[in-house]
């Protein structure tokens, strides 16, 4: 993602015209990617709103248990943003050790988010809030309530899994990105180990059984990039990775209220 041959800081002002955005190329490149990605998420959120508007009696089935879990996930993500910004700060001040530890803390929070979210998915699927093509969970009686939601308003599970799945993919890739920045090639065996655990520890009816291969593909791509361009990542790389991470956090700030809080189970008069 962030690989430059031609770096142009403000320092190169003698050779080039001053940058139109007053900063270095990598950061501009990441911002442009984020613009595009926010439109990708924006389109998904608009598709969700479109479905919700055009469906009378949109269900509001989330129990307080789900909301508590999602609030905890939000807290993890916000905290990871704080640790990320501290990692960038450590990088700018040249404190390599602090930078690495803050990055690892960020990754830990991100991983916690993914695990909590994955557990919630599995629970909802087992209880019947599922997509038509997801295999049935053996030995588990679907709760009539969720089953009913999935059958009467198929848009509900579709948008839920579509939006949060896309976001979960972004968080996962973000953790991998930070892992490469923090540990470079030492991270690849870790990633392969995580892939094996995620693949073998999940039953074959779970979507995560197949989703785990994202880790394998990322490991291969990361290995190729590190082979093509082995280098030490400087503070600019950390800052650019941070931009991506904060963006993932930002997107969740919209998904959480729209998907969860607007569908809480309360008695309405």
């Amino acid at each position: 993602m962030s690989d430059v041959a031609v770096q142009h800081g403000v320092a190169a002002a003698g050779v080039y015209e001053p940058s139109l955005f007053g900063t270095y190329s990598k950061k501009i490149g990441m911002w442009l990617f984020l613009l595009s990605d926010s439109l990708t998420f924006g389109a998904l959120l608009f598709a969700y709103s479109y479905g919700r508007i055009s469906t009378p009696n949109w269900p509001t089935p989330f129990h307080s248990e789900s909301i508590r879990n999602a609030t905890l996930m939000t807290a993890f993500l916000l905290t990871s943003s704080l640790t990320m910004v501290l990692a960038v700060r450590a990088a700018v001040f040249g404190n390599a050790k602090a930078q690495r530890w803050w990055l690892l803390a960020t990754m830990a929070c991100g991983t916690a988010f993914v695990i909590l979210h994955g557990r919630e998915w599995s629970k909802l699927i087992a209880e019947g809030l599922t997509l038509p093509m997801f295999p049935a969970v053996p030995g588990h009686e679907a709760a009539a309530e969720y089953k009913n939601v999935a059958e009467t308003v198929p848009q509900f599970p579709a948008t839920f899994f579509g939006l949060t799945g896309m976001h979960m993919l972004h968080v996962t890739l973000g953790v991998i990105y930070l892992g490469i920045i923090a540990l470079r090639k030492k991270f690849i065996p870790v990633l392969l180990g995580l892939w094996l655990v995620a693949w073998l520890a999940t039953p074959d009816y779970s979507p995560f059984h197949y989703g785990a291969h994202v880790l394998l593909i990322s490991a291969v791509v990361a290995a190729i990039v590190l082979w093509l361009r082995p280098k030490v990542y400087d503070s600019a790389d950390v800052e650019v990775a941070g931009l991506y991470w904060h963006f993932v956090d930002l997107v969740w700030m919209f998904i959480f209220p729209l998907v969860y809080l607007m569908s809480t189970r309360i008695i309405r008069s």
Partner: protein, 577 residues
């Protein structure tokens, strides 16, 4: 923090693979894109030829495809559209020429992110392989048209080609989105950050402006298509119903409900209309460059041209609904879209009049690039004039499903953009390969192609007004359609000739590459930066130095100058415009 200006950190690569396959050099990547597009254009052209043959000889069994059934015809149509729009019109002018010449024209040693550039090409390549693979899977290629309208595209059992073939189609489009995104952010960053000293925005050649604006359009549009494609994949493979309402296929109720096909159309055209400008804007840039150079006059209204490009880019995002007048969209939105679409005629007209103003009183050199640039203007006007008809819902509704629309978009977006590519090829060939293309063959190519394209696409307008429907594989059943077959026959013969003469171009291209006369560094006496460097340019474009720019890009016929042109890097004291 990037404290040092490590300009040009990657050394000239050694070994075949690093030099020609996984090259990081924007020039090699540009050529890779160009030859990918060249392959794609011949595939697309072959498909169109099969369709034209089938339209007039429905009984004939054809090579490679055998007997053409109506659904085979739809597959041909889908693949022709997709390959042409994505892998030719988007790939060649932006990925090919943009990659090769944007960094040189702004005075940079390479793109801002060379690795990303390389990944972008190879992702495009994989996308191309994926879409070609759709021909060879069970059920064959998809039949939902290049627009992939749901619910046809969203249901795996809605037709023979809608099985694995359609999945490959969506996957290819999604990959292409990612590739274009990587390319676009590279182009924008290069333009923002790597302009040589003195190359202010208002001194950039109009080609750079057009690549820049095109990249912005691509950046903001392809992300939306990506999410549309992801939702389509979910509909097809996980049984969700984003785009599918309650439907009955062959008397069978599908397990979908609650979705809306309009959502797909909105998301698709939100990307799809900017895509039209992604295809045509680079052609406009090349035309401006070539017309100014070969008229030996400064471009008429440089700033107006740049602002018109921006206006077209901005308005291009606000008009997508004019593709959807037939869809049952809210009539109030249709009204708004109609007004905005009319408004886009203003910057387009500014550009046209400025091209004519540049030609007026110039000392015109009618060489092949110039011919194709003038051809571009001609096709742009002919195709553009039918635009205001289609911009109005009242007229669009009767015309939309007829050949009128086919003629309109082929002239303005298809052939005009192709003429832009031809102009660029003839114009920059000497710089890319160090040899000149054959002038006589070029002229033959131009005149027959121009006459041929008009002979193919002009009658389509009459067919449309007469009510001939598009996407039909045969017209033998209905009396009023049968009477129009002679015109179709004429168009097919014209297509034979036009496609035949493209082989002349192909021969000229490859023959000149090896046997053409050696080109000097500046054979057209042009002023922009690519003509100041060696032919072909060295690995870092300017041989270790970074040029300094003193002039605007089109200083031709300046009074008091020694020659009739002043290079952008010429420090002469003649007052700059």
């Amino acid at each position: 923090m990037a404290t040092t200006a490590s300009i040009h950190a990657h050394a000239a690569p050694q070994g075949f693979i690093r030099k020609y396959i996984f090259s990081l050099d924007h020039k090699v990547i540009g050529l890779q894109y160009y030859f990918l597009a060249l392959t794609a254009v011949f595939v697309g052209m072959f498909l169109s030829l099969l369709m034209r043959i089938h339209l007039i000889w429905p009984q004939v069994s054809l090579p490679l495809v055998g007997e053409i059934k109506p659904e085979t015809y739809l597959s041909l149509l889908t693949m022709h559209g997709t390959i042409m729009v994505f892998f030719v019109l988007t790939t060649a002018p932006q990925g090919g020429f943009g990659n090769y010449f944007l960094p040189i024209q702004v005075g940079a040693p390479d793109m801002a992110f060379p690795v990303l550039n390389m990944l972008s090409f190879w992702t495009t390549f994989i996308a191309f392989v994926t879409i070609i693979a759709a021909f060879f899977v069970t059920g064959g290629a998809p039949l939902h048209g290049w627009t992939g309208y749901a619910p046809l595209s969203a249901l795996p059992n809605s037709g023979p080609g809608e099985q694995l073939g359609a999945d490959l189609w969506v996957a290819s489009i999604a990959l292409f989105c990612i590739a274009s995104l990587m390319g676009a952010l590279n182009f924008i960053t290069t333009t923002l950050d790597l302009r040589a000293k003195g190359m202010t925005l208002m001194r950039m050649p109009l080609t750079c402006w057009s690549w820049f604006i095109t990249a912005i359009l691509g950046l903001l549009a392809f992300g939306v298509l990506l999410s549309a494609g992801i939702l389509l994949l979910l509909d097809r493979n996980l049984g969700t119903s984003f785009y599918v309402p309650l439907v009955v296929v062959n008397g069978q109720v599908m397990g979908h409900k609650g979705g809306s096909p309009l959502l797909w159309q909105h998301l698709f055209w939100f990307f799809g209309h900017p895509e039209v400008y992604i295809a045509i804007l680079p052609g406009m840039g090349v035309t401006s460059q070539v017309i100014s150079t070969f008229s030996r006059k400064p471009i008429f209204g440089y700033k107006a041209m740049a602002y018109a490009l921006m206006a077209i880019g901005l308005l291009g995002f606000m008009v997508w609904g004019h593709h959807m007048f037939m869809s049952g969209m809210s009539p109030y939105s249709a009204f708004a879209f109609s007004i905005m679409t009319m408004a886009i005629g203003v910057p387009s007209a500014i550009k046209t009049f400025n091209w004519l103003g540049t030609l007026w009183g110039g000392r015109i050199r009618l060489q092949t690039p110039m011919l194709f640039a003038i051809g571009f203007v001609s096709l742009f006007v002919s195709g553009g004039l039918s635009g205001p008809f289609l911009a109005q819902p009242v007229l669009d509704i009767p015309l939309h499903d007829t050949y009128f629309v086919v003629g309109h978009f082929h002239l303005i977006m298809g052939v005009a953009a192709i003429f832009g590519i031809f102009a660029a090829t003839y114009y920059w060939f000497p710089k890319m390969f160090g040899r000149m293309m054959n002038e006589r063959l070029g002229q033959i190519h131009f005149f027959i192609t121009l006459a041929g394209t008009y002979a193919i696409f002009m009658p389509m307008h009459y067919l449309g007004l007469a009510g001939q429907t598009r996407r039909y594989s045969q017209f033998t059943e209905v009396a009023y359609q049968t009477k129009l077959i002679p015109l179709q026959t004429f168009m097919t013969y014209a297509a034979f000739v036009t496609i035949g003469v493209q082989l002349v171009f192909l021969f000229n291209l490859f023959w000149s590459m090896f046997k053409g006369p050696k080109a000097s560094d500046n054979p057209w006496e042009a002023t922009t930066l690519e003509w100041t460097t060696a032919t072909p340019p060295p690995h870092d474009n300017f041989g270790g130095r970074t040029p300094v720019v003193y002039h605007g890009p089109y200083e031709y016929g300046v009074p008091g100058a020694a020659r009739d042109y002043i290079m952008q890097t010429d420090p002469a004291t003649v007052p700059s415009h």
